[in-house]
Symmetry: C2
Subunit: 242 residues, 2 copies
Amino acid sequence: MLHDTAIDLDQRPDMNFHFPQQERASETRSLETLLQEWPVQRRRIHAKQYVFRAGQPRQSLFLVHAGFFKTCMISEDGREKITGFRMRGDLLGLDALDMDSYTCDAIALDTGEIWELPYAQLCNNLPEFQQRITSILAGEIRRDWGWMLTVGTLSAEQRVVAFLLDLGQRLEALGFSARRLMLRMTRAELGNFLSLKLETVTRALSHLQSQGMIEVAGREIRLDDLTGLRSMVYGSAGRSCH
Amino acid sequence: MLHDTAIDLDQRPDMNFHFPQQERASETRSLETLLQEWPVQRRRIHAKQYVFRAGQPRQSLFLVHAGFFKTCMISEDGREKITGFRMRGDLLGLDALDMDSYTCDAIALDTGEIWELPYAQLCNNLPEFQQRITSILAGEIRRDWGWMLTVGTLSAEQRVVAFLLDLGQRLEALGFSARRLMLRMTRAELGNFLSLKLETVTRALSHLQSQGMIEVAGREIRLDDLTGLRSMVYGSAGRSCH
DNA sequence: CGGCTAGTTGAAGACTGTCAAAGCCTGTGG
DNA sequence: CCACAGGCTTTGACAGTCTTCAACTAGCCG
């Protein structure tokens, strides 16, 4: 296995690796720091388990401590959309802060651990907390807009590349390798997030591999040509979709 | 002209219409109520004028008081994505609350007026304010996710219908007709928001008109068959795109 | 071993994009 | 007042990317 975000929690009791000067990372550290004085409730979660479902009464916010999660919305008529993949340091339930029931599903993609944050309590007692939440919310909006831009203006293959690069970057911020990725989601889930069909994702990965830019072995993906990959997304190459 | 959100501000000095029990509307009212004791700076804006640009130092938050705006992101290589159309009661600059420069552009699509909110000051002096902002941010995330779902899972024509219905609903919440829409954006802008080309938008509108569901006259659009339109989006009809 | 899920690959088809031309509307200027 | 330029919209024909449908393989587990 190339790397592992979730298993062996107990062998690695404190995963406080170096945190690069990333915006997200610094926010996260502060959050975890803030929480050290608070008796947060930890919860172990297994793959395919729901952290919460849309419609359930909202009690808390959840901080991902380990593992890999997806959040997704389902329309009345059954259309589903994954709104994001969440890992250590991410918060689950942000979208429902002002509601009394959750508005999306949060589902574990592998074994993990989440910390339950009593939102109202923390707001009242920790002056910094609300401000921090505001920052995180704004960051989530920027991230969403970034994906709207990516999905709306790039070709299938470019979207896949953008996803791989983003995932690598996020993993790197957590102290893992940015080039050796272990996908925790199926091709269908990845496609759903990128607004592609699973076959298209497969084809994109195969094609990238045939070009020598990545190496694919099921869900293990190695990024061989980072600069090449970046130029596919940020460079002027690619079909002018908009 | 079917209706008008922007012009004749002065003939209509106080547009405090009835506010339905919409989540957004109630938030908005509170905001405007809160602000009555504060000397906000009003600014008149004309079509195509920027409220702010990405990269400019962030000073304030802007509340749209009248007019129609778009917010959009532009990638380094020039790809552009409209992240939303904003009207009375919406806030501009939310995405950059924790940054010291704006991260998107905000551009007026017609004449309007915005109120400049000194964010830091209001946070410090109005206990409710920060909480309200949190709610609005969470609402924005839900809205974004909703559009990600719409754009990611519906066909071109369905997306256009979803947009028209949403716009009608928003206008209704402001006291206007939900069936007589005056589009303030070009076909290209509408297409950009929906991740479609302008020709596709035109074709969708033409086709809907040929089916007798709407009536198109340039940017004036009348929704003739609301239930039919709704069934196109929420019903099980439409190609199974995902 | 059989069944199941996940992934890969191929061929055909569909929706949407691309390119092009023409109509429409507005505002400007003669 | 009309002409004209420029931007926006509409429509058509064609092309292309992505989806759809299908078959096949691989890995996992009872």
